[in-house]
């Protein structure tokens, strides 16, 4: 999808200290329920041998993918990729909270808000961004780990930081006909975290379980409909239309008579 802007996150992994201030700021800014969170920090654990130890924390939120698997399952278009900003958004006025997209997201970046019966996720604090502010998580990040900006604009802070990074990695999901092409760029990961690749690589590179993107899941209600019912219904409607068309053509050719019975 082409968009005028391509907002994305550049996250300096070496700067994250797992303070989770971003999580608090996000919850406050977006009124996220206490038992849910839009963003989180993944602890990759302690790596290496004493005394050369590393511990890496990976901040996580919606990847605002270029080709999001969540959008193609949404039946009403309540979740969509915004053409102007490139962000993946949910119109909660249109969402009924069926959860197809929650199952489909390879990053578990979505959750069901049971109280309101809708799906909720990171919207990059769009109201703040529209006012020229940074998203809450970025504004509050004490270590300057999180950065946000227009990745199409080569002069934005995020783009410049990305260009000067020692290493760049993305959690791309490329399988089963999908290529998510995520817009979170993890930079400067310590070598032992397994996040490092030279240059701008498009390959997924983390091997820790629970951190790699998972396969999109499709419930029976979603799949069964597509594979069985759609062809059946089209066949039914097609046959019905055909019968009607044949008789109508016949009627047109033969003409009408008022006293015909």
């Amino acid at each position: 999808m082409d968009s005028k802007k391509r907002y994305g996150f550049v996250i300096d992994v070496s700067r994250c200290i797992d303070c989770r201030a971003c999580q608090v700021a996000c919850s406050v800014e977006n009124s996220v329920p206490m038992d849910q969170t839009r963003i989180w920090v993944q602890d990759l654990g302690v790596k290496g041998e004493f005394p050369n130890l590393e511990r890496t924390f990976v901040p996580y939120n919606c990847m605002h993918c270029e080709h999001p698997p969540c959008i193609e399952v949404c039946v009403s278009g309540a979740t969509y990729k915004d053409q102007n900003t490139g962000l993946v958004l949910v119109d909660q006025q249109a969402c009924i909270g069926c959860g197809f997209c929650v199952d489909a997201c390879p990053y578990n970046a979505r959750y069901l808000d049971k109280r309101r019966g809708v799906v909720d996720k990171c919207n990059a604090c769009l109201p703040r961004v529209e006012r020229g502010q940074q998203p809450a998580c970025v504004a509050t990040c004490v270590g300057g780990s999180r950065m946000f900006g227009d990745l199409n604009d080569t002069q934005s802070d995020a783009s410049i930081t990305l260009k000067n990074a020692r290493s760049v990695a993305r959690l791309d999901y490329e399988a089963n006909g999908h290529d998510t092409d995520p817009n979170i760029y993890y930079i400067n990961a310590p070598s032992m975290a397994g996040l490092e690749l030279p240059g701008d690589s498009r390959q997924p590179l983390v091997t820790q379980s629970g951190f790699l993107p998972r396969d999109p899941q499709y419930s029976l209600a979603e799949q069964g409909w597509k594979k069985v019912l759609t062809p059946l219904l089209f066949a039914g409607i097609g046959a019905s239309f055909l019968v009607q068309a044949v008789y109508f053509t016949k009627q047109l050719i033969e003409g009408e008579n008022e006293f015909e019975e």
């Binding site: 039946v75 278009g77 979603e222 019912l229 409607i237």
Partner: protein, 279 residues
């Protein structure tokens, strides 16, 4: 077919004579339903935008989203109308349950042996076989109409129930909202498959022209009834004869009481309005 032997004079009389087929409740509910379908079906198709389903063209989706401003407005329009539709139909059925619905279901919907034969012969005739074989006589609705009636009733209930689940999304659990979606469209498309035939037969097909106008006036000619709904026609004739007999009896009784009592009865006062009936 049997009605082809009816002589000209009798045919003329039959064409003039009218029988009432639909009551006002049915007519109004039918046209209310038509209006609602005309609004709900296009907006509903426009809502379904998942590319994995591919059920509606993109230009259609975009046209309606532009028309309503955004997806949320389109959906709100759809379910507000849907709730009105659900409420009115439910209200009508409950209100007319004893007077209209029960007699309708009991006399016009049940399939009998003739209907089953009709279902065996008619499809083959439509394909061009067994053209000379006579069709069994039909009730007020023929077997095809009866079958479709069941599809419509089940489908309508399915649409209403699943629609309510999706409208009140804060109340129902996700698994219900997931299954409500295929249920909603299966019901809609099952009805639409028959609807194409229904609209064609009702509004365009020359032999059924009377059926179309009867949906406004409620009446069909005796000739049409005789040719298309023979069993119902004879039922009407029987009802008419019974009425005539009853009137004759009333007149007779009224005459006797007059002699015995020597003063006017209620029955007699009624009869003075129609003096021709006295003879």
């Amino acid at each position: 077919m049997s009605y082809k032997t009816i002589p000209l004079e009798e045919r003329r009389r039959l064409r003039e004579k009218k029988y009432k087929k639909h009551n006002l409740a049915n007519i109004l509910t039918h046209w209310f339903n038509v209006g609602m379908w005309l609004l709900l079906l296009p907006t509903g198709i426009a809502i379904i935008s998942s590319p994995r389903l591919g059920l509606s063209p993109v230009w259609w989706q975009e046209m309606f989203r532009n028309l309503f401003g955004n997806t949320a407005n389109l959906i709100h329009f759809h379910y507000t109308l849907g709730l009105i539709w659900t409420f009115v139909l439910t209200f009508n059925i409950l209100l007319g349950f004893r007077k209209y619905f029960v007699p309708f279901a009991a006399t016009r919907m049940l399939l009998d042996k003739d209907d089953l034969n009709w279902l065996r012969i008619k499809p083959l005739q439509m394909l061009g076989f067994m053209k000379d074989k006579p069709l069994p006589p039909q009730d007020a609705y023929n077997a095809g109409q009866k079958l479709y009636m069941y599809v419509v009733i089940l489908g309508t209930v399915g649409i209403m129930v699943s629609g309510i689940v999706m409208t009140y999304n804060a109340v129902f659990p996700p698994w219900m909202k997931q299954w409500a979606q295929p249920l909603h469209w299966v019901s809609v498309f099952a009805i639409v498959a028959g609807l194409i035939i229904h609209v064609y037969m009702g509004a365009v097909f020359p032999e059924e022209k009377e059926a179309f106008f009867s949906m406004f006036s409620g009446k069909v000619s005796a000739w049409y009834a005789r040719a298309h709904h023979e069993k119902w026609y004879w039922l009407k004739v029987k009802e008419e004869l019974q009425w005539e007999e009853q009137v004759a009896q009333e007149v007779e009784e009224a005459g006797q009481t007059k002699i015995v009592e020597g003063r006017k009865t209620v029955a007699e006062r009624k009869l003075t309005v129609k003096p021709t009936a006295v003879d």
